[in-house]
């Protein structure tokens, strides 16, 4: 049955997530100003509080489902800006889970594994990557050379799942993945990147110089299986984008109300000021994008792997965060620019979601190919 109401179980998890987001928000400005500092794996306030992501994933009875709830928890966390519990898992863990042998999984199952795909010359077109592994017959090791950029969890992670070209002993070539642990000679993590926003988000470049890797670390994820981790993460990025967008909307609504400007939905556009009309249009963008995220997550729960829908959710969320954070500053005027208020951070943080994990343009390529029945060669 079509229904959009949260259940009591959903509400319980989300109100806990929201309470923690309010605490997290207290730290948001600090880590915005101190981008070289990693936030603690667990904040002191979180000691007695459950990780809301764990709650969502426990599949508690009466909830709207683990995937839906997880995405809504992420939205709350991004509303606050800082998670009280640092995520234990990276997208590299997803690759490990889907393609590793049982022995490999056993070895790294408790590691935080970043995913390393993007390179200086290969962002939106990862098929262009140049990082290469050659096999050393004498030692039975792989020798990895290349550079990876914009890598999340680069500093906090224990290892990286690196997408690389390979040249096998028989001369065959292709694309594959290797897990490279921190401390491996030849593997260097660069300094924190200096970004417009999401400054608390651990992001560095990785360098591999004649980095020797045992054959056991060859995870054998191919290009397709590696890229498929984004089917799950794309709508999640949409949810995160909407967390930032809602923070901007909430702040704007509150400040407008303090000045006696109330938002009413009863009349039409000719009954209200331009400011209220604009606010309602921004709110509509938020609601619309949120529903595309829920749709994608709901499909996942039906075991229908969403592809177009995952890209729709990412594209809609990314665009919503841009429009809403820019628009809210317009509505509140020059005072909204001040670092005394959260909008400047929302504006800067909100700009990432239409860029990372596949730009809005890449999402539109995926959607267009799918609805037109085109291959990657037909529509580049």
């Amino acid at each position: 049955m079509i229904d959009f109401q949260l259940t009591a179980a959903d509400e319980k998890v989300l109100s806990s997530a929201h309470e923690q987001a309010i605490i997290g928000r207290r730290y948001a400005r600090y880590y915005d100003k101190h981008e070289d500092e990693l936030e603690p794996a667990e904040f002191p306030e979180a000691k007695d509080l459950p990780n809301p992501i764990t709650l969502a994933e426990e599949g508690l009875s009466g909830s709207s489902g683990t995937r839906i709830l997880h995405s809504l928890v992420m939205l709350e966390i991004y509303w606050g800006g800082i998670a009280l519990h640092r995520s234990k898992w990276g997208l590299g863990n997803t690759v490990l889970k889907t393609v590793a042998t049982p022995e490999q999984f056993e070895k790294w199952k408790n590691h935080t594994i970043a995913i390393a795909i993007t390179e200086p010359g290969a962002g939106s077109d990862p098929a262009n990557i140049r990082t290469t592994a050659t096999f050393d017959r004498e030692t039975g090791e792989w020798i990895l050379n290349g550079e990876k950029i914009f890598i999340s969890q680069a500093q906090s992670g224990d290892a990286a799942m690196v997408l690389s070209r390979f040249i096998a002993p028989d001369g065959s070539r292709g694309m594959t993945t290797f897990i490279v642990e921190k401390g491996t000679p030849g593997f260097t993590v660069g300094p924190q990147l200096r970004k417009l926003g999401i400054r608390s988000h651990d992001t560095c470049n990785l360098l591999f110089e004649n980095c020797r890797i045992p054959e056991f670390n060859h995870i054998k994820g191919d290009f397709k299986s590696t890229m498929s981790v984004f089917n799950d993460s794309r709508p999640m990025v949409g949810a995160m984008a909407l967390g930032v967008a809602r923070a901007a909307l909430d702040f704007t609504r509150e400040k407008l109300a303090e000045r006696g400007i109330k938002v009413s939905y009863r009349g039409g556009m000719r009954s209200r000021s331009a400011v209220v009309d604009r606010f309602i249009r921004l709110e509509a963008i938020y609601e619309a994008a949120l529903l595309t995220v829920l749709r994608s997550k709901w499909l996942e729960q039906q075991a229908v792997p969403p592809k177009v829908e995952a890209s729709i959710a990412k594209a809609a969320g990314g665009k919503a965060a841009r429009k809403i954070t820019q628009g809210c500053i317009d509505l509140l005027g020059p005072e909204a620019l001040s670092e005394d208020h959260p909008l400047d951070r929302c504006f800067r943080d909100g700009r990432i979601f239409d860029i990372y994990e596949g730009t809005g343009e890449i999402q539109r390529l995926i959607i267009a190919r799918s609805i037109l029945g085109y291959t990657g060669r037909d529509l580049r």
Binding site: I2, T7, S64, Y265, R266, G268, E309, Q363, L365, I367
Partner: protein
């Protein structure tokens, strides 16, 4: 519990209406627009599916089902969809807000096997009209009410047996059920508009119409006129979703076939990306509509959601129809192709307030 799951019953009804829309309704759309009238055979075909009159049967009223079906009808033609949504709006208002006597007297009138029209009259023929400042008034008299005012853009006004008229009464919006044969009720000439030309929309004037107290929707209990507005906005959102889908589904094969500078139009990113945006927005429009409809169905306050859906759909449907014309170039401007009609229809639907319901 958040769910997009259609029931088996909803799926069946949806595919039945989809089939009718493709085989009978779409082929008749252009002719109806040209002749500025919907053939009665088309109205009877829609009626024969039972989707309209069932909304007056006890326990069958379902805004989510109506939203689904109005989208399918609008994929064929927006005017036909509104011809269904007008009596649905009337029946829905009576079924959910009418007094027991009103239900008993009115609902059985719709049990026949021929299309029967009744409508909701909210809009007024006045620039800068807004639903929050209705000028039609109902003044309390000794035996009931005296209704005065003008209502515009009433679909199939000439064929309506009854109108639900939203009017100001004692400083608040209220609704009155008016038999079109009551003294003082005059249905004006049908006047063609930019779009929905087949819908025979007309102005209805109410000049000192004496109504008994039993004419007030809900009688002594009164009604919530905002719910009628919410329901209308949701129905219009469903219809805009349908027209947008029609545009998208029409331009996709065209842009794949049409070769420009050596390549199919659809293989150019500027076109492909806009097609992707059409898909993103029609999806979002549908979910916005479903959410508003489900809140109405559960008896909740849908004012915010219905308004957001209507605002979002209005803006995006217009964008999609506009792009549809553009992608066909000169052919989009010709009346040989339906996109120019969808462009006109969308401009019309996206400024309507009221007149229909889910």
């Amino acid at each position: 519990m958040i769910s997009f799951q259609l029931t088996e019953e909803q799926k069946l009804a949806q595919s039945m209406v989809q089939e009718l829309a493709i085989s009978q309704l779409r082929p008749a759309a252009r002719g109806a627009d040209d002749r500025e009238a919907i053939p009665s055979s088309i109205l009877d075909e829609i009626w024969a599916t039972g989707i309209i009159q069932s909304q007056g049967e006890s326990g069958s009223y379902s805004p989510t089902l109506n939203a689904l079906l109005l989208e399918e009808l609008a994929v064929a033609d927006a005017a036909f969809a509104i011809a269904a949504a007008a009596p649905i709006g009337f029946l829905g208002a009576v079924a959910t807000q009418g007094s027991p006597a009103q239900k008993k007297n009115l609902l059985p009138l719709f049990a026949g096997d021929k299309y029967r029209c009744a409508g909701v009259a909210i809009m007024e023929p006045d620039f800068a009209f807004d639903v929050s400042s209705i000028r039609t008034s109902a003044i309390k008299t000794r035996d009931g009410y005296r209704l005065s005012g003008l209502k515009g853009l009433v679909p199939l006004a000439g064929s309506c047996s009854h109108f639900i008229v939203v009017a100001q009464c004692d400083g608040a919006a209220d609704a009155f059920i008016v038999d079109r044969n009551t003294r003082g009720v005059t249905v004006g000439e049908k006047k063609p508009n930019i779009g929905l030309r087949a819908l025979e929309m007309a102005t209805v004037s109410f000049k000192d119409v004496e109504l008994s107290s039993s004419a007030r929707l809900g009688e002594n209990a009164g009604c919530d006129a905002q719910r009628i507005v919410d329901s209308a906005r949701t129905a219009l959102s469903a219809i805009m979703t349908g027209t947008s889908r029609a545009v998208m589904e029409f331009v996709m094969p065209y842009t794949k076939e049409r070769v420009v500078h050596g390549d199919a139009l659809a293989k150019k990113q500027t076109i492909a990306f806009r097609l992707a945006d059409m898909r993103i927005e029609t999806d979002a429009m549908r979910w916005m509509t479903w959410k508003a409809a489900s809140i109405i169905e559960q008896g909740g306050n849908a004012t915010r959601q219905a308004h957001l859906a209507y605002t979002y759909c209005g803006e995006n449907a217009m964008w999609i129809a506009d792009e549809g014309v553009q992608m066909l170039g000169g052919h989009g401007y010709l009346r040989d192709n339906p996109v120019e009609m969808w462009y006109r229809d969308t401009r019309t639907v996206s400024v309507l307030e009221g007149a229909v319901g889910v």
